[in-house]
Subunit: 167 residues, 2 copies
């Protein structure tokens, strides 16, 4: 996602609105602000994870594995839960395996499958990263009042139900 350092000021938006009649300046600003702020926060999260030699993709795979009893899953299941293609998951697992944070094993029941297991080193990496991650998220979201936090959640869910407007 593009970061959009400079959101358009209202003057520029008006120039566009003159050429493109359907533009609703306030609504466009809100839409771009949502993408912009989320990208900022996502980049911030990546900076934090990067300081522990992780990035969001790999970090999320470790979390999905920790959610499982035994810390075992399959590439397909992980891809579906992370919302990425199986091809992308292959690449993420290659990196995690190289760093010995997960292992690949052949599944005895179905020889098409590969079982992915969180290693001790992988669990240790999560134990290193998660406490501070939770502290920072708590600190960030605490800048909102409880009412604001609830309102944000409600409004976001409402928008997410209409993301297919772009299809």
């Amino acid at each position: 996602m593009l970061e959009l350092k400079n959101l358009p000021d209202e003057h520029i938006l008006k120039k566009f609105a003159d050429r493109y009649e359907d533009a609703d300046i306030q609504k466009v600003l809100r839409f771009l602000t949502l993408l912009h702020v989320a990208t900022d926060l996502s980049n911030g999260l990546d900076r934090y994870l990067g300081s522990h030699a992780l990035l969001q993709g790999r970090w999320w795979v470790l979390i999905l594995l920790m959610r499982e009893d035994e810390g075992i899953s399959t590439p397909s299941s992980l891809a579906e839960k992370a919302g990425v293609s199986r091809a992308t998951m292959t690449g993420l697992l290659d990196g995690l395996q190289r760093d010995k944070l997960v292992t690949r094993m052949v599944a005895p029941k179905d020889r098409r499958q590969t079982l992915i297991k969180l290693t001790g080193k992988g669990q240790a990496k999560l134990d290193e990263v998660m406490p501070d991650y939770y502290r920072r998220v708590k600190q960030l979201m605490a800048v909102l009042t409880e009412e604001e936090g609830q309102a944000l959640q409600k409004v976001l869910l409402k928008l997410s139900q209409h993301a297919e407007i772009f299809d």
Copy 2:
């Protein structure tokens, strides 16, 4: 950004909260929902732009050029305004130039610089894409009441002022 198809349910978050004491379940859910919904909307926007042989990065460069009088800028300036590295901008401009949506010219004043100009074909591409983009954004944001829209904007700006919490 990772899409997080399945946000954690409260049961799983509790398992994590037991191991990592500082976790605040509600706040983490709100944070992840923000990233998740913004990613969904960003992907939707990319699907729409993709149907016109554009993606967010290239589309945004065209918009930045149209903001300029004469439709002229430089790679450095575009990179700064788009919030990407100059290396990334080189790649975006390579693609746009290949599709003849922009042209590169040597700057007469400073021979280190390259001037980037929006072509007629580039402006035509914007004229093809923007009206429907504005219609769809208007339609999407109209699912919120005016009060909800204002509250969203306010809360997002508040959060963006604390994105450095991850540093």
